[in-house]
């Protein structure tokens, strides 16, 4: 969670300095982390 927050902070910083490419990179990374977390959460549930 702390890693995600750090990435969001970086995203805001890059947006503020109009470096949209890097901002896109950080936003993409945050979204990937969130989806990965959801998938991991789902896989932890037993099949039967």
């Amino acid at each position: 969670m702390a890693k995600q927050k750090l990435k969001i902070i970086k995203f805001i910083e890059e947006i503020s300095s109009k470096n949209y490419a890097k901002a896109h990179k950080y936003l993409k990374s945050v979204i990937e982390d969130k989806i990965e977390k959801k998938i991991h959460h789902a896989t932890e549930k037993p099949l039967f």
């Binding site: 969001i8 902070i9 805001i12 945050v30 969130k34 998938i39 789902a42 549930k45």
Partner: protein, 282 residues
């Protein structure tokens, strides 16, 4: 006017021209004197004015210096206030704002993802994937490929599985029974060994040895029986010596009293401690 100014004797002596010359000379003299006086006055006034201007300058300079200092101090204080406020805002509220903003963005992204990709879909996908993986592993374990997936093979496999399960249960049951039997056998062996070893011993010693060794294994009894017996003997000797000492201390009849010799024998016979001692020494 001139006529009145000059006396008659002077008018007789002086001609008009000489009077004029004297007048001119006097006027020049006066003019020079006035000029000299004016010059002196000018110089004096100039000096005084310079002094005055100097004093005014000095006064104004000191006043201006004070004003500048006061303005500097005032501005410095205000700047300190501004800096403190700035730091407070930056350290407290700005940080709070930053945290709130980051959390809001995080929550928003999570909501967006939930809406775009529902949790149920993700769970279903992971379940499918896990089920496929489990099935593949099962196939590997059971060595089942597409050729062996016919009904007859399936039945055989199921039958085999049932038999294996049944036999496993049977083996477990037999193992438990075997363990119980082994335990009972060991207990019986230990009991018999202890009985055989203690059969020829006296009451207290026998009881002590049985009490100490009754829950032990036969090997333990074999190895430790002699030590335990020796330990009991040692303790018993100690106990008897203590009893003997106490009996000698607490006796009422002295050995050198002739009158009580007869009754001494009787009392000796009655004293249980001495009886025990005598019995032991024999």
């Amino acid at each position: 006017m001139k006529d009145k100014a000059l006396p008659k004797q002077a008018e007789e002596v002086l001609t008009e021209e000489s009077v004029k010359a004297i007048e001119t000379a006097i006027e020049e003299k006066i003019h020079l004197s006035v000029e000299a006086a004016l010059t002196n006055q000018d110089e004096l006034y100039a000096e005084k004015l310079e002094e005055l201007v100097g004093a005014i300058d000095k006064d104004h300079t000191s006043k201006l210096n004070r004003v500048v200092e006061a303005v500097d101090v005032n501005n410095a204080n205000k700047l300190i206030h501004v800096v403190k406020r700035y730091e407070k805002e930056l350290g407290g509220r700005a940080n709070q704002f930053k945290t709130t903003l980051v959390e809001s963005i995080s929550d928003y992204l999570e909501e967006y993802i939930n809406e775009s990709i529902p949790t149920r879909a993700i769970e279903e996908a992971t379940k499918n994937s896990t089920a496929r993986e489990v099935l593949s592993n099962l196939r590997k374990v059971l060595a089942v490929d597409s050729t062996l997936m016919s009904e007859s093979v399936k039945e055989a496999v199921v039958d085999g599985k049932t038999q294996i399960d049944r036999l496993a249960i049977k083996v477990n049951k037999l193992e438990k029974e075997n363990t119980l039997l082994k335990e009972a056998y060991t207990k019986q062996r230990a009991h018999l060994l202890l009985e055989s070893k203690t059969s020829n011993l006296t009451g207290r010693k026998r009881e002590y040895l049985i009490k100490i060794l009754q829950d032990k294994s036969p090997t333990f009894i074999k190895e430790n029986f002699d030590y335990t017996a020796k330990l009991f003997d040692k303790k018993e000797n100690q106990r008897l010596s203590v009893i003997k000492e106490e009996a000698f201390k607490t006796r009422k009849v002295k050995t050198d009293a002739p009158v009580l010799k007869i009754s001494e024998k009787k009392k000796e016979a009655r004293n249980p401690y001495l009886e025990e001692l005598q019995r032991h020494h024999k």
